[in-house]
């Protein structure tokens, strides 16, 4: 997809874009309802559900007991009955309590019941990071869900794509895991006021380049774009792609880019082992004839530590992405003068919790 051109430019935060898409979809289709722990409180899931209770009432916007497993089943049952529930988790880690329902029922029902039933369900879920989110408030589990036929997985990195893909997810007839990284919640982009769709399964070239294709996932799109800025100062032109949807994956977009650049770096916001990076690289290799150079980055192969000192090196950063790019390109002799490079990480520094 090309970068959207918007006649009436308006900057909107990622979280406000989520709220706007939800409100528009709830107005458009009375079968859409929103529930989950704390969706109706004053914090409103970082503002993503702000104003919805007032607008649509407690029948369509309601909090739940702390029963993630059963609430997922309730969402599935309601979806089967013809409604379009949006079930919200403040942290993705809690989705581990829902795996039976998501994998045994949501993903499989359309198939097992031979197309007799659909599960048009959206699971909105936030990935935490920074200020000591630690082992169990920081996990991105997309690779687990990407493994399972029947599920779709979306992880937008901009407000524009958040609004468009959420609307698409709500209208989709399948269970969609919709991931929102806490570190992109405050980021703004140009967002049209009216309804629009960013189709699931379509990625976006975020920055054009000629020397290497960098595929970033979720917040790592932001870090990859920063790395591309750094690399540009040394004359290296990186093309940055945001797949946006992880399953189904817009592999054609990535392959076209790799054919052009001949080099591929996948930067995941997750672990490498059996991860999205392995999947993306494999799918590219299956589709190209000429050999390419490739590498991948992601979480350190450890649990996420709480202390900032270690947390900072648990994640890839613009700096390590730029360094890795040089390595892939075989430019180990090229030295970036890090003294002269400004490292941006405002959203990571700004976050002071508690949610």
């Amino acid at each position: 997809m090309s970068t959207p051109s918007v006649p009436n430019e308006r900057l909107l935060k990622f979280t406000d874009a989520i709220a706007e898409a939800t409100a528009q979809e709830m107005s458009r289709d009375e079968k859409v309802f929103l529930f989950g722990l704390d969706v109706d409180d004053h914090i409103a899931i970082q503002g993503t559900t702000a104003g919805l209770l007032e607008k649509f009432g407690a029948k369509r916007v309601f909090g739940t007991p702390l029963s993630e497993d059963a609430m997922t089943g309730v969402a599935i049952g309601a979806a089967m009955a013809g409604y379009r529930p949006i079930h919200v988790h403040i942290r993705m880690d809690f989705m581990l309590l829902c795996m039976n329902q998501l994998i045994n029922m949501a993903a499989k029902s359309h198939y097992v019941y031979n197309g007799e039933i659909k599960v048009p369900l959206v699971i909105r879920t936030m990935i935490g990071r920074s200020w000591g989110q630690g082992a169990q408030h920081s996990q991105a589990l997309h690779s687990m869900f990407m493994h399972v036929p029947g599920l779709k997985v979306v992880a937008p990195s901009t407000a524009y794509d958040a609004k468009g893909t959420l609307a698409a997810a709500i209208r989709d007839d399948n269970p969609v895991i919709f991931m929102e990284h806490r570190m992109v919640c405050g980021l703004e982009s140009i967002v049209p006021e009216g309804e629009y769709i960013v189709p699931l399964g379509k990625g976006r070239v975020m920055r054009k380049g000629a020397d290497i294709t960098i595929v970033g996932i979720s917040h790592m799109v932001v870090e990859s774009l920063r790395a591309a800025d750094i690399l540009a100062q040394s004359g290296i032109s990186a093309e940055v792609i945001d797949p946006i949807t992880l399953r189904p994956l817009d592999i054609d977009l990535i392959v076209e880019s790799v054919k052009k650049t001949g080099n591929l770096l996948v930067v995941d916001n997750g672990w490498l082992n059996c991860g999205a990076s392995a999947e993306i690289i494999t799918q590219v290799m299956e589709r190209i004839d000429s050999p390419i150079k490739f590498a991948r980055m992601g979480y350190a192969d450890s649990t996420c530590p709480t202390t900032r000192k270690l947390e900072d090196i648990f994640y890839p950063s613009s700096k390590t992405i730029a360094q890795k790019t040089l390595k892939v390109l075989g430019k180990n002799d090229m030295k970036i003068d890090w003294e002269k490079v400004e490292i941006h990480r405002a959203e990571i520094e700004a976050f002071k919790g508690p949610f």
């Binding site: 029948k59 089943g73 049952g77 409604y83 029902s109 097992v112 019941y113 031979n114 007799e116 599960v119």
Partner: protein
Amino acid sequence: MSLATSQNMELTENLFKQMLLIRRFEEKICEVYNTDVVKSPVHLSIGQEAVAVGVCDNLRGDDFVSNTYRCHATHIAKGGDLNKMMAELYGKSGGCAGGKAGSMHLAEFEKGILGASAVVATTIPVAAGWALTLKMQESKQVVTSFFGDGATEEGVFSETINFAALHKLPILFVCENNRLAIHNPLERRWANSDICERIKTYGIETCKIESGDVFEIHQATNEALQKIREGNAPIFMEIATYRYKQHVGIAEDLHEDYRDMAEYQKWKDNDQIDKLAKILGDEKTAQIEKDVKSQIEEAVKFAENSPFPEDEELLTHVYA
């Protein structure tokens, strides 16, 4: 409730017919099972028919049932198409799910039979979700969620009971208590066997039936459904019953030394099909036996004649 005074012959005949259909259907499965036409695990309800029939006979056509993997009885009692059901067990394309579901995942949505799951307790919250939408529509329809005593030990059961009570969902929870989780008796699983007392504390009305009597089950369900339709609040029923066969499979397993044989005998002596047969008399039961037999023969013929699914079916309906 006394049989002689309170039941009319029409009801007796109807309940007998349905229970017999379930038993003979499952006996037919046993008969063909060793030829391996089914090629899948089956969890038989033989001995438990009175619960399915006593409850489902009260349901309206537009009500719903939600099942477990031991679902043949409730599937038939709610009006599931016998031909499609048998074809499904045979893995044929004419089955209710084209052979993709099999015995453990039977479903027939147009008859209000929600899909069954092979994982214990999994369908309970799904049934509640369906009931939530009925509540949203201010419908008078009811979802009946069937499960066994073992399912009440799963966390998701308690979560669902709490949610259903909180939202006053139009759902009838029916615990078919056969006191066995595979081979593990209830005494080794519960410190306190009074499940109804436990459920009451969530704010749900409960009803316990220990007799196994199909008329008592029928009457109690009738009253419960009326209350649910009028009051829009869930009710929990614990209905004692007994599984004659193995947990999974077609065999008798009396030699396996995990049952209380006195209890087994008590339930055999209390067999509701035998009991109703005596009320109806030989001539009537012979006629019903004949009808039931012909329905089942037709289902077998349908299943045998139905083709297996084409290879392309492997990848259809992965996504909607």
